[in-house]
């Protein structure tokens, strides 16, 4: 009889249970294993669901790079999110401290202090901050039906579902937990990923970590020497995006994906070892 082994998610969740986010020594980090990542986009979809993001907005995204000439072309896919930089230029340049370094080193955003000046968007080297140009999900206020006298209009659906008229659609009570977390969002303020701090407060992993079918995202406390994050970082030399910017990102990448191979050279070291 074999002993049941906890999944990676279970191990990380157990670590999180033992972590006091308010403890000053906690430094949360995410390591993304590019060998495991298949580029399926489940992280992006899960994130959009969790945070009620509408089309055109993303906290979790990806960058791509192609090299070579057809038919010899390589393609690299790198999942991205807010890097929760230790030296965050968005927070440095925010005139009202709407962006600030919060518990666990997360770069937090207080919507109520945001004046919509967009300085953070100009300062972020990673293009990871997005502006609510209008109230989210305006479609739910539309009164035109797809088929007249045939289907209900979005507004009618909202009314039939007995949603409070002033409450926006997709109200998410899960996001009410934190001091600066809001169950809905509104126009004129910026938004960004915060490692799903509302979930962390409930002892749950960030949604993108949980959604990843390949367990390519490893999450935990960098200051805990026994954390899974440190275990991975101890094995592989990590990269960060735009290291030259000096922002010290908390999101790190290991095992740069390379699915190909070619003729061995005479000087290849260690091949016979």
């Amino acid at each position: 009889m074999t002993e049941a082994v906890d999944s990676l998610d279970d191990q990380m969740a157990a670590e999180l249970d033992e972590t006091d986010l308010q403890d000053e020594g906690v430094d949360l980090s995410m390591v993304i294993d590019l060998q495991r990542c298949t580029g399926c986009g489940a992280c992006n979809i899960g994130c959009a669901q969790e945070n009620n993001l509408q089309e055109g907005q993303a906290y979790s995204s990806r960058i791509i790079e192609t090299n070579g000439k057809f038919p010899n072309v390589s393609y690299e896919y790198t999942p991205t999110l807010c890097n929760q930089c230790d030296d965050a230029p968005c927070a440095e340049g925010c005139p009202t401290k709407a962006l600030y370094k919060g518990d666990g080193g997360i770069t937090m955003h207080d919507h109520e202090k945001c004046i919509g000046c967009k300085a953070c968007m100009v300062n972020c080297p990673y293009d990871e901050i997005t502006l609510n140009k209008e109230d989210p999900h305006p479609r739910w206020e539309e009164t035109d039906a797809l088929i007249e006298n045939g289907t209900a209009s979005p507004k009618q659906v909202k009314e039939r579902a007995d949603v409070d008229e002033n409450a926006p659609a997709y109200y998410n009570p899960n996001r009410e937990v934190g001091e600066h977390e809001h169950p809905t969002r509104y126009k004129g303020v910026v938004e960004k990923c915060n490692f799903c701090v509302h979930r962390l407060n409930e002892g749950e992993l960030p949604r993108c970590v949980e959604e990843c079918p390949c367990e390519a995202r490893i999450f935990g406390d960098l200051n805990d020497p026994d954390s899974k994050v440190n275990e991975i970082l101890g094995k592989y030399n990590p990269d960060v995006l735009k290291e030259e910017q000096g922002t010290a990102p908390s999101v790190k990448y290991v095992r740069d994906y390379n699915g190909g191979g070619y003729e061995q050279g005479t000087g290849e070291a260690g091949l016979g070892d």
């Binding site: 009202t96 202090k113 004046i115 100009v122 293009d127 997005t130 502006l131």
Partner: protein, 416 residues
């Protein structure tokens, strides 16, 4: 005291005839268009602006920079030389200069507020939750101090009976130091955005401050020439030699320096090994923005004015006026080129974004708000022109000077 009564102001407006009515109508139309743009943005949100997550700052920011630096430049380049350093040459320009500084600052404030996502919480949050590490916070504090100093300076110039020299000098010093620091901080907002090397780091502050003086002197010169043409009082108070002599040469030098700094900016960028930086400069100078960024911004705004002011043949009142107006048009374009240039190259190759180049075109609402800024400036200055005697010299000069045409002769003042 030189305040003109309300009745007198109305009489002056009536005396000006149909030309004045046409001007007031034009300004009113501008204000209406502007109110439409501002209300539309307030109600609908910034979705009516031509911005995107990749270009969060557009023509509203560049217009704010244009206005704020006009204000800064007038004070550093003209009025402070008189109020702080006792230079008598520019005294006929001081009162209108202080008012123009104040009103360009107000116009800039209006334009930037209209473009904020949450304009009503801007001032309270700046006070309740200040961030001293943010250049934008410092800029707003310093421009607020500057605005207060300008009001005080104008009060002392216009209303106070024999104000104390010490107080006048103190206010003048604040009105000189505050805009230098504020303009520097405005540059730092861009310069500290290390992800966008187009702004040039610390050079952004230097570039914006120097070109601020060019724009400020150009505006004050253009306005003064128009006023000389419209009223005899100004024609008497401001000697033609001041315009075609000192101011023309001053503007010419500033045009040359601005041209040189702009050339340095682009030359460094074009030869940079940083591909994104070189691409941004190439795109702004020779790509789709070339006509206005290079043609209007550099050609019409710097080269032509420099030529007009360098050649003795064209250093006439008409030539100086043309050079000043072209400089202002060019600098308006240059401000947009500067702001936009830092954003035209995508930071990352995210397939849901534009890559490698990012497009931007001002929306109707943005243009309406820009019109609002110009209309507000025109409205406030026109009203002030009717209410105050802007041709009056500062008090100490009025007692020292006996001949209005002796403006070009520098005099040693008490402060010396």
């Amino acid at each position: 005291m030189s305040r003109l009564g309300g009745e007198s102001a109305l009489q002056r407006a009536r005396d000006a005839g149909p030309r004045a009515y046409a001007w007031i109508g034009l300004v009113a139309l501008g204000l209406l268009i502007g109110v439409y743009g501002a209300l539309l943005t307030l109600i609908e949100g910034t979705t009516v602006l031509g911005l995107s997550d990749q270009v969060p700052w557009g023509i509203l920011i560049s217009t704010y920079v244009f206005f704020a630096l006009l204000s800064t430049g007038i004070c550093i380049g003209i009025t402070s030389l008189s109020s702080v350093f006792g230079m008598t040459t520019f005294e006929p320009l001081v009162k209108r200069g202080v008012l123009l500084s104040l009103f360009t600052l107000a116009a800039g404030g209006l334009v930037i507020m209209a473009g904020l996502g949450q304009p009503f919480r801007a001032i309270p949050q700046m006070l309740l939750s200040p961030n001293p590490s943010a250049p934008m916070w410092w800029m707003i504090v310093l421009y607020s101090v500057y605005g207060g100093a300008l009001v005080a300076e104008f009060y002392l110039l216009d209303q106070a009976e024999q104000p104390s020299q010490r107080l006048t000098l103190a206010v003048g010093v604040v009105a000189l130091v505050a805009p230098i620091l504020a303009g520097g901080m405005l540059g730092a907002i861009f310069g500290t955005a290390e992800a966008r090397p187009y702004y040039g780091g610390i050079f952004a502050s230097v570039y914006l401050l120097v070109t601020a003086v060019f724009s400020g002197v150009a505006l004050l010169t253009a306005v003064t020439i128009v006023e000389r043409r419209l009223t005899d009082a100004t024609a008497t108070a401001v000697d033609e030699t001041l315009l075609t002599g000192t101011l023309a040469k001053y503007l010419g030098v500033l045009a040359g320096v601005t041209l040189l700094l702009t050339a340095f900016r682009h030359a460094y960028g074009l030869v940079a090994t940083n591909e994104a930086l070189a691409l941004a400069h190439e795109h702004m100078l020779f790509g789709t923005h070339s006509a206005w960024a290079l043609g209007v911004g550099v050609g019409l705004g710097m080269v032509v004015p420099f030529a007009l002011l360098a050649l003795p043949r064209t250093r006439t009142v008409g030539g100086v006026f043309t050079a000043s107006v072209l400089a202002l048009v060019g600098l308006f374009a240059s401000r947009l080129e500067f702001v936009l240039g830092g954003q035209v190259v995508a930071l990352t190759n995210d397939p849901s974004h534009q890559f490698p180049l990012v497009s931007y075109a001002p929306s109707v609402a943005e243009i309406a708000i820009v019109v609002f800024g110009f209309a507000l400036l025109a409205f406030l200055y026109t009203m002030s022109r009717l209410l105050f005697d802007l041709d009056e010299r500062p008090d100490h000069a009025a007692t020292d000077m006996t001949h209005p045409n002796s403006t070009a002769t520098p005099e040693v003042t008490d402060d010396d």
